[in-house]
């Protein structure tokens, strides 16, 4: 088997994640989908690392995880705050940007 298949898998997962971001209204699920996309990227990085024979790809994946962790922490905190204020975790309720 060619390891390129990992890349196809990563692309597939990424796309699923993206579609999920677009169709789900629950902010928590949206976040999960973002995590899914990040993970898909990580998979791609790891595969590339293997292909190129150096560890830089893994390092990048590692940093991605760190940043994702930070993002999740802040993001979830925001969701909780929003939920407290509006009693809803739906992203559609936060539509004040329209004219």
């Amino acid at each position: 088997m060619n390891p390129v298949n990992y890349l196809y898998l990563a692309a597939l997962l990424f796309t699923i994640g993206a579609v999920g971001v677009l169709i789900r209204r629950n902010a928590i699920v949206v976040f999960m989908c973002v995590e899914l996309m990040l993970n898909a990227c990580n998979l791609a990085f790891v595969t590339f690392s293997r292909m190129h024979g150096n560890l830089d790809g893994q390092i990048i994946a590692f940093f991605t995880m760190v940043v994702a962790a930070a993002e999740v922490v802040v993001g979830l905190a925001i969701i909780v705050s929003v939920f407290r204020a509006r009693h809803s975790a739906s992203v559609d309720d936060a539509s004040l940007m329209k004219l």
């Binding site: 993206a18 971001v21 677009l22 209204r25 992203v91 539509s95 940007m97 329209k98 004219l99």
Partner: protein, 630 residues
């Protein structure tokens, strides 16, 4: 001596500047200052005249160049003056009559609170008029030309609180501007033809220019002259200009400014000599105006407007004479000077009558004034005799020469022009007799003024009568003096002179002139001396009614230019607002509508924006791939 020329203009200009900027502290002394400076100018003029008489006839012209006014690549206008015999004649007339009228105004304007300003304007006028006749190039002449127009505007509208005065002033300026357009176009043609517009070179080189160009220049100059000298078709402003104070009418609208057109044509004699077609048009304009003014003068009941019609007619004589070429130039100027005396005298007399009659101007409400205003009566009467050409008085000599010259034009033209001038002389006698009879003879037809006060006619103060007396002396003597002192020889070096070949002998013309004069006087006597004059004007014939309305000229102007112009500007304002602005605003509205649609895409939903981002990313990737593939 040359250096004094600038002083001629400088003195009244200084007066104008001081009086107009001086403020109220000059209110009590300003009129003396103004009169003094005008008189100073007259004295300088006399000194220059004496100097000029001392030189030989061909060497009398003097020049003074101050500085270059407009120095531009290939274009030079100098602030330079030329004083030759023609200019000298005018300078003496302007400063002389001007000074007299300044003196007259001291009394006439005594009760006007803005007298200082009046004198300032008068001084401004004298300065501008002197600039006009002293300029050594057409552009500087144009400067003076517009300057007198401005002074005329200010003085006609001097009583600005009267809407009629303000309107008359505006009308005078506007109609003059149409004429000025002619002058500026003439200067432009000159510049492109000769490369200069200084009198000397232009007039010297006329022989080399094509006749078409010269005719164009001539016609444009004629247009200018028509505006300034109230000739048909630009004559309509003169009657209205009588709204100004009477001294103004005397000085500007009788003696000096309105004759500037004659000056312009005579000054450009060389151009007209080389353009016979233009000359013909000049004579036609003169002849038409001559009759036009005379007919209008017959119908007017307003003493000043009657005199204004007369002025128009007399200037018609001058223009006609100027159009005759070398046989007429001298006589045009001669009539101009004598006319300056007697018409100024007549106007001052009219002013004196109004002064005594509570500013009443309707002759139908005068009558029998000779006993109450003896000095005015005598001076006015002398002016009257002069204008109708009573033998021996000044008008007789000058007008007779013009009639003679008109016949001398030769051919059918000569006969027609001669007959017209004779007819004009008859009408002149008629309407002037009418004025005389209605004002000074007959029974009293005085009416109380709007305050209910009946008039108490009285003789005017000395400051007013003395100028009238002096002008009357001029009216009586000037013609004979010119005839016998050699006016023709005086002007000949400048204007040239030729004897015409008249089909009639001089004696025959003179006899005819006197005869038609007697007929005119007789007719007027039958109508106004034998019968009582009604206070309310009778309806009159169609011609009379038309003549009262200036032969419908104003109606024509109103219908065509005023109404038409108003409609044009209104519709243009509308077009500007809806069409020109509308196209731009329409574009803006279209963009606005489009953005209104696009705005709906901004629904505020994060997910919706995310789709756009996502789709955009997809498109970008596609583009990248495509670029790589290509």
């Amino acid at each position: 001596m040359e250096n004094l020329i600038a002083l001629l203009i400088g003195a009244p200009l200084l007066g104008a500047a001081v009086l107009l900027c001086g403020g109220r502290r000059l209110d009590r002394s300003g009129h003396w200052l103004g009169t003094l400076l005008a008189a100073a100018s007259f004295v300088i003029a006399l000194a220059l005249f004496a100097d000029m008489l001392g030189k030989s006839a061909d060497d009398r012209a003097m020049f003074q160049r101050l500085y270059t006014w407009i120095p531009v690549e290939g274009f030079r206008a100098d602030m330079a003056f030329q004083l030759d015999q023609l200019s000298m004649t005018f300078v003496l007339l302007i400063t002389g009559v001007g000074t007299l009228i300044h003196i007259y105004s001291i009394g006439y304007m005594e009760h006007d609170e803005r007298r200082r300003r009046f004198f300032g304007y008068l001084n401004l006028f004298v300065a501008a008029m002197l600039l006009l006749v002293l300029a050594d190039n057409y552009l500087l002449l144009y400067f003076g030309w517009e300057g007198v127009g401005l002074a005329s505007y200010l003085l006609i509208g001097f009583w600005q609180h009267k809407p009629t005065a303000a309107t008359a002033a505006k009308k005078a300026f506007l109609v003059n501007r149409v004429g000025d357009m002619g002058l500026s176009i003439a200067i432009m043609i000159m510049f492109t033809t000769f490369g200069t517009f200084t009198f000397g070179p232009v007039l010297a080189e006329t022989g080399q220019a094509s006749e078409g160009k010269l005719t164009a220049i001539g016609l444009m100059l004629l247009l200018a002259a028509c505006g300034k000298s109230a000739q048909v078709p630009l004559q309509s402003w003169l009657g209205d200009a009588m709204e100004g104070p009477t001294p103004v009418s005397a000085l500007i609208h009788a003696a000096t400014m309105v004759t500037a057109g004659v000056y312009l044509i005579v000054r450009s004699a060389d151009i007209f000599n080389a353009a016979p077609d233009a000359q013909l048009v000049v004579t036609v304009v003169g002849a038409v105006t001559l009759l036009f003014g005379a007919i209008v003068g017959c119908a007017k009941d307003d003493i000043k407007k009657a005199l204004a019609g007369s002025t128009m007619s007399q200037i018609g004589y001058m223009i006609l004479a100027a159009g005759l070429g070398p046989i007429g130039y001298v006589f045009a100027i001669m009539h101009l000077v004598t006319h300056g005396f007697f018409k100024a005298g007549l106007f001052l007399g009219a002013g004196s009558v109004m002064h005594g009659m509570n500013d009443e101007v309707d002759m139908r409400r005068y009558g029998g004034l000779r006993k109450y205003m003896p000095v005015t009566f005598v001076t006015f009467g002398l002016g009257y005799l002069a204008i109708i050409g009573f033998p021996g008085l000044s008008g007789f000599f000058s007008k007779d020469k013009i009639i003679e010259a008109a016949f001398a034009k030769g051919g059918t033209e000569g006969w027609i022009l001669g007959s017209v001038t004779l007819l004009g002389a008859a009408i002149t006698a008629y309407y002037m007799t009418r004025v005389m009879l209605m004002t000074f003879f007959g029974e009293k037809r005085w009416q109380p003024d709007e305050n209910g006060e009946p008039p108490h006619p009285h003789e005017s103060p000395k400051s007013m009568t003395i100028p009238m007396v002096l002008l009357a002396v001029g009216s009586v003597a000037a013609g004979a003096y010119f005839e016998f002192a050699g006016f023709v020889e005086w002007l000949e070096p400048v204007t040239g002179f030729a004897h015409g070949h008249s089909p009639l002998s001089a004696a025959a013309v003179t006899t005819a002139t006197v005869a038609v004069m007697v007929i005119g006087v007789g007719l007027a006597y039958l109508q106004y001396g034998r019968k009582p004059v009604p206070v309310v004007a009778p309806r009159g014939s169609l011609l009379t009614r038309a003549a009262r309305r200036d032969l419908l000229q104003d109606d024509f102007n109103h219908a065509v230019f005023v109404t038409g112009g108003t409609h044009l500007t209104r519709s243009l304002v509308y077009v500007d607002h809806t069409l020109v602005d509308g196209v731009v605003n329409g574009t803006a509205a279209a963009v606005g509508g489009l953005s209104g649609r696009l705005r709906k895409l901004q629904n505020g939903y994060v997910r919706s924006y995310a789709v756009s981002m996502f789709g955009g990313t997809a498109v970008l990737i596609a583009a990248t791939l495509l670029m790589r593939a290509v």
